[in-house]
Subunit: 752 residues, 2 copies
């Protein structure tokens, strides 16, 4: 606390002493007078933030397992609601009833060449006070696996992503009728059973290899922070790239009376049974495998030679689940805007955990709570936000973004009419700022980051964010970090509650958090993600909880108080132009790769080189890739670039500043700006997944969490579906044109 105060003092004094040069920078969305008021307000906001209660809340909220449908989850929702109410927010708990399978039977045994039964158990540790709460803990399992009772030969498939199956094919190995064992990593976990099933596998085991998640990274818990030999990663395997949320109510809120699919018709359940295991359970299976030695890139850190199989090793996997509906309790707290109550600034973080979840999600949730409390303190002096602020604590994020998705679906129309931003957070720890989101918000978020001081260093979090890219980035990243006015924010894929807002509804969205120094990943989705672990390894002083409060708080307060919405478009077109270059290069690269592979096949390069002992299979030739017409996309991009430039120029015009003192114009501009992100969605959605409507950002169909930008085009090219790529170029071009037109409408308001 001392350190932070000193740092802030130094910065403020430097600002005070340096005269005109150090004049506070103007704030987008604010006149210079209102910017001064806003910065005063934020200073006041900061002064209300306290670490002690953040720590107490974490201890309280993570004291018992609180997964979706659990007694303590309900207690937490009630507790959170009571806090909001005590601070003066109009608070309600919205309930949705969602499919949430929990295990009845979990059996994994090796049946040949010897008998071994997996323990499937994370033991109690005396160093971890909550690790012994066996009666309330969900066991290790993957949610939305189907039931199954399968026996078959075992095959190791590395990360189990599509490219891994190309490697298998080259070695003549087919997983049809077999059970695959994949290691965590390389993709979101749900991709592994999906791709395995596509290739005919009958079961899927996912384990945490110590190379990716265990002693390779550092000392294991409880000596150190990292995953121990018995730790296993719970998690959802629903096919969320198709649609997240309740598998039974795609596209609509899972309210009491909602029309529900039969479970057999729910498309996001896996096609084969799936179970996560620890590396102590995986070791006997992997050690037993024979067949070819796995390629170097497939080998983990277990003290064995990794083989692929299949061979003498067979396993039996039996899983039965209780496919029941569970109540999800979303806590929704509102502070009505004084001037534009029908513009909503939404700030959310989930409250459910897989087990105790001190890091995931409580570390982010307590920062949100502290933000809300400090905001309520501001109200005591009579301040009210111009726009309505809504704090949300989501339930059921872990099994599949359930609480947020069902709420977003239930209120879709109203949200598309009223929401001006959604600001998400999730787990938080010591380290560096991380920001993903809509690039219309990139400059805004950089402004926020320039005004938040890092608690460990006497610099802004923006400067630390930028310096980290200079220190760790390649030459291109380094140059950009030094020369570009703003640090580039990441596009969002999936993995937290922002997805329904951004990718389904088209609401401008941010996801913010700190991390990179705190050691949190080794207990991800395990019983050891506990208060004891958090305060040893993640953020012992809770300094970064308050830093997140300041960051999220500023984002919310600036959006709530701005004279008009602080969007900026130069950063958008700059980033979209990068994506356009990327997909054009991707098309060239794929075309070249096909041509190169065909040439090798034709010239018998594989046959000549391959070691005859290894029985490799020569790849099959593929039709050459055509050249694709990218002109519509390039033309639309030009149009977008021009519109963005015109808007930003118009904003810099002194006359606009005068005109923008008009409340009517402010309101009209807000209306126009709010619809820019909406212009990026296409109601028909992406090919084969209509739920995902955003045309710039989507989680990848074969990456799960990993983002695909310009997804319609990019994934068509990746899948070598050239006709679809051409079609999607037109769809995206139309989207960019529509976006440009909407920006033009906004610009027309201020430059008329």
């Amino acid at each position: 606390m001392m350190k932070f105060t000193l740092a802030l003092f130094l910065v403020l004094s430097a600002a005070a002493q340096n005269g005109p040069v150090a004049q506070p920078r103007p704030l987008q969305g604010f006149s210079s007078e209102s910017a001064d008021r806003q910065r005063m307000l934020e200073k006041q906001f900061d002064s209300f933030l306290k670490k002690d209660e953040v720590r107490d809340w974490m201890k309280r909220l993570s004291a018992r397992p609180h997964h979706l449908g659990s007694p303590y989850g309900k207690e937490n929702a009630d507790f959170i609601a009571s806090l909001f109410r005590s601070w003066g927010y109009e608070t309600q708990i919205e309930r949705f009833d969602v499919l949430f399978p929990t295990p009845k039977t979990r059996l994994l045994e090796m049946t040949s060449p010897e008998k071994f039964t997996a323990k499937l158990e994370e033991p109690t540790l005396k160093e971890d006070a909550t690790s012994g709460q066996k009666s309330e803990q969900l066991p290790t399992y993957n949610a939305y696996s189907i039931n199954g009772d399968v026996t078959g030969q075992l095959v190791y498939v590395n990360y189990g992503v599509p490219e891994d199956y190309e490697v298998l094919e080259r070695r003549g190995i087919d997983v049809k009728g077999k059970i695959v064992i994949a290691r965590y990593g390389g993709s979101w976990r749900g991709i592994k059973p999906k791709v395995a099933a596509e290739h005919g596998a009958i079961g899927c085991i996912i384990y945490s290899d110590p190379r990716d998640d265990g002693y390779f990274a550092g000392d294991i818990y409880p000596k150190g922070a990292w995953r121990n030999e018995n730790g296993a990663q719970r998690g959802s395997v629903a096919d969320m790239p198709l649609y997240p949320g309740d598998p039974l109510t795609p596209g609509v809120g899972a309210t009491a009376n909602a029309k529900r699919l039969d479970i057999k018709d729910a498309q996001t359940l896996t096609k084969i049974p799936v179970l996560p295991i620890s590396y102590s359970d995986a070791l006997p299976l992997l050690r037993s495998l024979d067949g070819p030695t796995a390629p170097a890139a497939w080998r983990g850190a277990l003290p064995i030679t990794y083989h692929i199989g299949p061979g003498k090793t067979t396993v039996h996997l039996k899983l039965e689940f209780d496919f029941k509906l569970a109540p999800a309790y979303d806590v929704i707290a509102r502070l009505r805007g004084s001037e534009r109550p029908d513009e909503w600034v939404i700030r959310g973080n989930h409250h459910d955990a897989w087990v105790n979840g001190a890091g995931d999600p409580v570390s982010g949730l307590v920062a949100l709570l502290e933000e809300a409390r400090a905001t309520s303190e501001l109200m005591k002096s009579g301040w009210r936000p111009k726009r309505t602020i809504i704090y949300c604590a989501w339930d059921g994020e872990e099994p599949g973004l359930l609480g947020s998705t069902e709420w977003a679906e239930a209120h879709a129309q109203e949200l598309q009419q009223k929401a001006v931003i959604y600001v998400n957070s999730d787990g938080n720890s010591r380290g560096y700022l991380s920001v993903g989101g809509s690039h219309t918000l990139e400059r805004f978020m950089n402004d926020v980051a320039r005004d938040v001081i890092d608690p460990e260093k006497e610099v802004s979090v923006a400067e630390r964010w930028r310096a980290r890219r200079i220190l760790n980035g390649n030459a291109d990243m380094r140059r950009e970090a030094r020369e570009r006015a703003d640090v580039r924010i990441d596009p969002l894929g999936s993995g937290s509650d922002y997805t329904p807002f951004l990718q389904h509804l088209g609401i401008a969205t941010l996801n913010v958090g700190y991390g990179g120094e705190g050691e949190t990943s080794g207990v991800y989705h395990s019983i050891y993600d506990s208060f004891d672990h958090y305060v040893r390894f993640a953020d012992p002083t809770f300094d970064y909880a308050l830093t997140l409060s300041k960051t999220g708080g500023r984002a919310v307060l600036r959006f709530a108080n701005g004279d008009y919405l602080p969007l900026n478009f130069g950063n958008l077109s700059d980033t979209v132009s990068q994506y356009v270059k990327e997909v054009m290069k991707l098309a060239t690269d794929e075309r070249d790769a096909i041509a190169e592979r065909n040439r090798r096949i034709n010239e018998k390069t594989f046959e000549i080189v391959d070691d005859p002992v290894r029985n490799l299979v020569v790849p099959k030739p593929e039709p050459p890739a055509p050249f694709i017409n990218f002109a519509p996309l390039e033309n639309a991009l030009s149009r977008l670039e021009e519109s963005c430039r015109n808007y930003d120029n118009a904003m810099r015009d002194a006359a606009a500043a005068v005109r923008l003192q008009s409340r009517d114009l402010q309101q009209a501009l807000d209306d126009a700006l709010r619809q820019v992100e909406l212009a990026m969605i296409n109601e028909r959605g992406l090919p084969r997944r209509p739920w995902f409507t955003h045309q710039i950002y989507a989680p990848g169909f074969y990456t799960g969490y990993g983002v695909k930008t310009l997804p319609g085009i990019r994934e068509a090219i990746e899948q070598h579906n050239w006709n679809e790529a051409s079609e999607q170029i037109v769809v995206v071009a139309n989207t960019l044109e529509r976006t440009a037109a909407q920006i033009d409408r906004a610009r027309a308001l201020i430059s008329k």
Copy 2:
């Protein structure tokens, strides 16, 4: 055998059927008539090759340990000499007396936090018939370690190369007064104690991490081919980048009466005691280390978290050696040339091993023996080579290229006057052709490779060599492999007996062998490099022994029989121009790297980013690097390129072919061509290591085996010694001018 015969038949029939297109290509150094005769001769040579005796010889030569100075080593030398004599070669054994320390005491124990004594023992395996010959085996040790009895804290230094110490410095770790443990790999082993001593360490342990050499690669011996937990890698740690050969007689042959240094004055002994250990011996030490977690790139495949230390872990290392002189027996077999007896074609492979050495060196030696036998069969029909052929079986290669270096030094003057080529081989196994050497021989060697058929595939070894680069190379390598007339051969660093010939005497040199499919590296320098291992994993059918015989045999026979020496210079200047580009780019890259680091220091980027918990140390700034004048080098390169082009053009001239029927001209041309490689040496040698005189190729001062091309310039830049770099640019430029002038002399002979 069937497969090979069929393949050859197909190729020959294809050649016969395709008419003019498939006319045998002309052979460099031969008129078209003499080329036809030569190819007939080679066909005859091939027909004499037999696998059975190659197998028998390997079994005989590897039946007992036969290191330098051992009884069986002497028996082998006598046996090899008797073979050569039986084939009609004028054969002698030349003896040199060389320093060869063997261990009296080897003790390594952990003294804190708990007691552990390393076993230092490779156990007998029932699957390996010779592994139990304990009384004759050299124990695991590093030759030319000094005696020592040291105790100190242990520090893990990764590969122990200079960059690793930069990583330590960043973490504030100093090895002064401590004992380092380094893993094998990343450099030649002798670099590790050298760099450790430069940083003040008092002892050095080198272990085989299973990541680089053990179960990570494949199943361990005896189940599979790879190094087991008790295998340890013997090997020399003499400072061979300073000079190889007998440490007591640098630059002169270690004959009976040679003047010898006192051991205390021998510069190539290590400065600190060094011991190699297995990974089962290393595991308790590494597991015990505390201190910072090692960076990801430093972590091996042991099932532990790798820490750097120093801390509670201390070790005691005690080593005593018997520093005695041992006799090295080089077997030298001559076949006097009929026409130009004073031009020597030298072909060598060592015969000594660390233990039984079936792979290293016997697999290469038996191919050489079979070459010599087949050549002797040719003599039975009255054939004699134009030039003298000398087969050499070297002793004492393992401890430090002793037999070859002492022979080369003892006969230096005569060799520089008479030797026209030295062709080396060493261990050989199943797989792909590998060629390193003088680039004046690149086209020649490509011609040889086009005429040798791969025993596994129905293509030439040249085609397989090229196809492998297409399949595994990056885009640049792939393009070159497809478009360049010849496959580029590798420059030679060190690690086998070619070094004294090429880098000390300036004799055009080749190193040839096959490998990449056979699994040999896991028993390198261990008791398990045995006949039993070789015939299971390296080349069970001995097909590649005969392929090496055909390859080496053609190289020798073509050089011995050519009308004139088959050198080509376009390939030389093409490759030297690459090296010039590389060193210029290196200067730019180093300059940029220094500037970038200084900028980061100046802008406090490290301070802003570094995690305060990790106690990192900000690097120190360094004076900016100046721009360097490369013009002398570029001018000399232009001159060389022109001379090379002119020579190759002159050779293509029809009139030259007529003139070259003159024996006097042939002889004069040979004299001129022989001196081209000599023009590349500089009698003053490289800075601080006068023994290394070649200005194009040298082993790196800090890589040991790894080559540095244009070493004087390159290493000065790497060391940021800008003045020396400028000086060496002039030295190398003069060398290139001298080489160009010598090529001009050769050209003048044929184009006058």
